[in-house]
């Protein structure tokens, strides 16, 4: 029998889990470009959130914590693991049933940017942090973040072959 305190903790965590899982999966996919690795990353992040839940649950926005932890986990994962996943991806080509097949080019283009440009683009344009928040989260100057954003956006558009004239068509997933 759980006491009410633990019950509250479990209940609030479960609510947070349900509210966060999808968004974390989207973020993890942009970080890794691999569905399996993204699922691993989400699981590990949410497990860590549970282990520290008495602390994290007191935050107004625990998602900020999970976002930071997920990024650190993704960076900390071994290059060998990424190579392994890349090799597995080559051995098992994506099929038309893969829900992400229409987005492989944009994720590949994202990953051809520098790590800082990738992270800044995702935090600002996908997650919705303002430049100051991105600067703080990335421990960088705001001007540097703006530089990453400007160059990252331009490089991403160029890599995707999006010209001014066909921007509308190119904006649709392939």
């Amino acid at each position: 029998v759980q006491d009410s305190g633990v019950g509250n903790l479990v209940g609030s965590y479960e609510e947070f889990f349900v509210a966060s899982k999808a968004g974390l999966m989207g973020l993890a996919y942009l970080l890794t470009g691999n569905v399996q690795e993204s699922q691993d990353l989400v699981q590990e992040t949410l497990l860590r959130a549970w282990r520290d839940w008495p602390h994290i649950s007191s935050y107004e926005d625990p998602k900020a914590w999970t976002r930071r932890v997920m990024h650190n986990l993704a960076v900390g994962r071994s290059r060998r693991a990424r190579v392994r996943h890349a090799a597995a991806s080559r051995e098992a080509p994506t099929t038309s049933a893969d829900p992400m097949i229409g987005h492989l080019d944009v994720v590949a283009a994202l990953h051809r940017l520098s790590p800082d440009q990738q992270r800044a683009l995702v935090l600002h344009h996908v997650i919705g942090l303002n430049v100051a928040e991105v600067a703080r989260e990335m421990a960088a100057r705001e001007g540097t973040v703006r530089s990453w954003l400007s160059r990252g956006r331009a490089a991403l558009a160029a890599d995707l072959g999006i010209e001014q004239g066909n921007a509308r068509e190119a904006g649709e997933p392939r």
Binding site: V1, L30, G102, V107, S114, D116, H125, R136
Partner: protein, 450 residues
């Protein structure tokens, strides 16, 4: 969704593709439920510590992670069954809502080994702290009325009763404006500053004072087309005014994306040096400008591509050292030196043995002579502090791992203070200060801001 600057149609389309990928991935579901997690034993952080029992609990938690995560990877998570009730939790913790802490110090300015000011931000508010030689203490700093965010990026002190800090804040309509605060020995107070007409983003990144009432600040602003351009403001008495600064003209066929001044160092009212950078789609380039008391002029820098300059420290009108880099692509670090007539690159490129490790960027520099500087920075694997003798580096291990240094201030070869932030074990980003005594760096605890 935050949209701070106008995007070209092509950029907007690229961003929409990213958002679409995010949305699609967010719809992927798989059998991973809350109970897969909550049915694991857990060890609340408040019980972590150095007591042997607590260490054992920590080891247990790590063991859980080591054992469970690989099982989860193998799809075996759901088969793990452990006691439902967390053994170490007997009641709900105090439920005082608060923000996930995200604070950091951006810069420091020291008058002596026992007197420094440091500034930064704490969540969405300005932050200022003072060092008395023994400990850091909070010194309340104001935020403009109606602002939704404020931060201080740089500080310059000329006496114990005269410091000037600069940064930016967002007003209630989301426009980013310049911010200047001054310290009179007792309190921090806001000084009115001008902003370029029509700009939606104006910010000050660096400041240097030669007296209590003579300061120069630099930064950047967005013009009406969204291009980021250089900005300089000077204080004379109690009034700040915008100075005209030159902006490098893009060569034909290239599109200038960002142009900014990041740091400034003045040795007199007629001798300031500001550094920064600009970027095109295909390159980053360094930028230096000099103030002769009347005008700002571009000082050509040895522009080997791949880096911008972040900080500069001058010990005379003919001796400045600027550092920079970008943890971007090949991760260049850069040291350029001004001799009064020309800039020369003294160090640049990816490090080799005995030099700054690859993956780092220099962010701050403080010199006590033309050939005695301390350079700090950060990279993907942690912090960096280097002693620079004008020709070579000496790596100085810092006391904390996994941190970012953004600023440093030295008053002698045996007295420096470096500041920045780090992610603590709880996942919070918190302030950090480390002091150099000539032999080693040591962490000097900084107070929690909230």
């Amino acid at each position: 969704m935050t949209m701070e600057e106008p995007l070209s149609p092509a950029e907007q389309a690229a961003v929409e593709r990213l958002r679409a990928a995010y949305a699609e991935a967010s719809r992927i579901d798989w059998p991973f439920e809350p109970r897969n997690v909550t049915e694991q034993s857990f060890h609340p952080r408040r019980h972590y510590g150095r007591h042997p029992i607590v260490v054992a609990a920590l080891v247990g938690a790590v063991t859980v992670a080591v054992l469970i995560v690989p099982l989860a990877h193998a799809g075996l998570f759901k088969h793990l069954v452990v006691p439902t009730k967390p053994s170490t939790v007997t009641s709900a913790p105090a439920r005082v809502p608060k923000r996930a802490q995200s604070s950091g110090l951006s810069a420091a300015s020291c008058i002596s080994a026992t007197l420094c000011a440091a500034v930064g931000s704490d969540d969405d508010a300005t932050l200022a702290e003072a060092w008395n030689g023994t400990k850091w203490s909070l010194e309340p700093s104001p935020n403009p009325t109606g602002s939704t965010r404020g931060s201080l990026s740089a500080v310059s002190c000329t006496s114990p009763t005269a410091c000037t800090a600069v940064g930016s804040y967002d007003n209630s309509t989301g426009t980013q404006l310049t911010l200047v605060e001054t310290w009179n020995g007792t309190t921090w107070a806001i000084q009115p500053t001008p902003n370029p007409t029509g700009s939606r983003h104006s910010s000050l990144s660096g400041v240097s004072c030669t007296s209590a009432t003579a300061c120069t600040a630099v930064g950047s602003y967005d013009n009406s087309t969204g291009t980021q351009l250089t900005l300089a403001e000077t204080r004379s008495g109690t009034t700040w005014a915008i100075q005209r600064t030159p902006n490098p003209q893009p060569s034909k066929g290239t599109q200038l994306l960002v142009l900014e001044l990041s740091g400034v160092s003045c040795t007199s009212a007629t001798a300031c040096t500001a550094v920064g950078g600009y970027s095109y789609l295909s390159d980053y380039l360094t930028l230096a400008e000099g103030w002769n008391g009347t005008t700002w002029a571009i000082e050509p820098t040895p522009n080997v591509s791949g880096a911008t300059l972040s900080s500069v420290s001058c010990t005379s009108a003919t001796a400045c050292t600027a550092v920079g880099g970008l943890s971007d692509g090949a991760s260049f670090t850069r040291v350029e030196v001004w001799n009064g007539e020309t800039w020369a690159m003294k160090y640049g490129g990816v490090a080799s043995s005995g030099e700054p490790p690859s993956g780092f960027a220099f962010i701050g520099v403080s010199c006590t002579s033309a050939t005695t500087c301390v350079v700090v920075g950060s990279g993907s694997t942690g912090t960096l502090a280097e002693a620079w003798n004008g020709k070579t580096f000496t790596y100085e291990p810092t006391a904390a791992d996994g941190v970012s240094f953004l600023g440093v201030s030295c008053t002698s070869v045996t007295a420096c203070m470096a500041v920045g932030s780090y992610d603590n074990s709880a996942g919070d980003t918190v302030t950090l200060a480390e002091a150099w005594n000539g032999a080693k760096w040591s962490v000097e605890p900084t107070p929690k801001a909230n």
